[in-house]
């Protein structure tokens, strides 16, 4: 088995009552169809009504840990960037 035949896939699962897909883990599979099926076995135990995304790991571009400071810090110390100074009206969900 070579890694080129069995590339790595990242798996994102939305549970039945979940709002968004969450990264569940990764697996090896020869292609997307098999990756979906393997993800079903490994990460969902076949609960009905869930949604699965599989993405080849090579298609994901990640932010670099080395650039963490310049990348994220400037926004942290500027309160005006965080729209938190108002009351949330009743009845607003999922905010």
């Amino acid at each position: 088995m070579t890694t080129s035949d069995w590339p790595l896939w990242e798996v994102f699962v939305r549970s039945r009552r979940g709002l968004s897909h969450t990264h569940a883990g990764s697996l090896h599979a020869p292609d997307a169809e098999m990756a979906l099926r393997n993800a079903r076995d490994l990460y969902t135990r076949r609960s009905e009504g869930v949604s699965i995304w599989v993405v080849p790991a090579t298609a994901i571009t990640a932010s670099s840990p080395d650039e963490k400071d310049p990348f994220f810090e400037p926004s942290a110390d500027k309160p005006y960037r965080h729209p938190t100074f108002y009351e949330i009206p009743e009845g607003v969900q999922h905010l």
Partner: protein, 246 residues
């Protein structure tokens, strides 16, 4: 429990039990980790079906572990050794296609609330048909990949389909207690399997679909040689410690 439903539950239950045991033999030996999990999953589904079906007949443990070879009613197809991965996939394709078509029909049968055992069979089929649809899909995916893969995988898949072909006719011998149009079931099975094989660039196997000596075959308790050894292994512990609770 009527005698005919006893026969039906035993036939379907033994199919599921024996194939489940064969798939269990793959544990730790599958080509990749993910496939390991998939085969174990299918084995567990089948074992669950076997438990329900055998419980309709009597004590599930007694039936599984204390019957002799001649008392088992499974088809000869499911008792065939795993062979290479292609053999396991071909066996699964043939059997899961049969199971999906059969359980689909049983689940759609008219309700008969006065007949408890028949209702139990219908309830099981309704639940199991989702499982076996997945099993069939899994076998189909692998048939396509092996048949249309490398020259070696193509040859192996073809050899496996050919080798097991002679055991496929037996599945369509009418089973007492199952109210099914067996000819129609067989025609649907042939259509489904040949569609998959064509897509996988594999020829439909030629030759007879029953063995020359099979007569009533597995459904009558006539089994192939590898089955005795499989049973010896499966039943060894239970027979060594009769009456123990586990």
């Amino acid at each position: 429990m009527t005698a005919s439903l006893n026969t039906a539950a035993l036939a379907l239950g033994d199919d599921a039990l024996v194939l489940s045991h064969r798939l269990g033999e793959w544990a730790g030996h599958a080509p990749v980790l993910e496939e390991e999990v998939a085969l174990a999953n299918i084995a567990l589904d089948l074992l669950g079906q076997a438990r329900v079906l055998l419980s309709l007949v009597g004590d599930e443990d007694e039936l599984a572990f204390l019957r002799e070879e001649r008392a088992f009613r499974n088809t000869q197809l499911v008792e065939q050794p795993n062979g290479d991965f292609a053999h396991t996939i071909a066996r699964q394709l043939y059997f899961s296609t049969y199971q999906r078509l059969l359980y689909g029909r049983l689940a759609a049968a008219d309700a008969s609330p006065d007949d408890e055992a028949r209702e139990a069979l219908r309830g099981l089929a309704a639940k199991a048909v989702k499982e076996v649809a997945y099993h069939q899909d899994h076998a189909e995916q692998w048939t396509l990949r092996l048949g249309d893969g490398t020259p070696e995988s193509h040859d192996r898949m073809r050899a496996a389909c050919d080798a097991l072909w002679r055991f496929t006719g037996e599945m369509f011998q009418p089973v007492e207690g199952l109210d099914v149009d067996w000819r129609e079931l067989e025609a649907d099975w042939l259509t489904s399997v040949s569609t998959v094989l064509t897509r996988a660039a594999l020829p439909l196997p030629e030759g007879p679909r029953t063995t020359a000596w099979s007569a009533g075959a597995g459904r009558q308790g006539v089994h192939t040689e590898p089955f005795g050894r499989m049973l010896a292994e499966m039943q060894h512990l239970h027979r060594s410690h009769p009456g123990a609770s586990w």
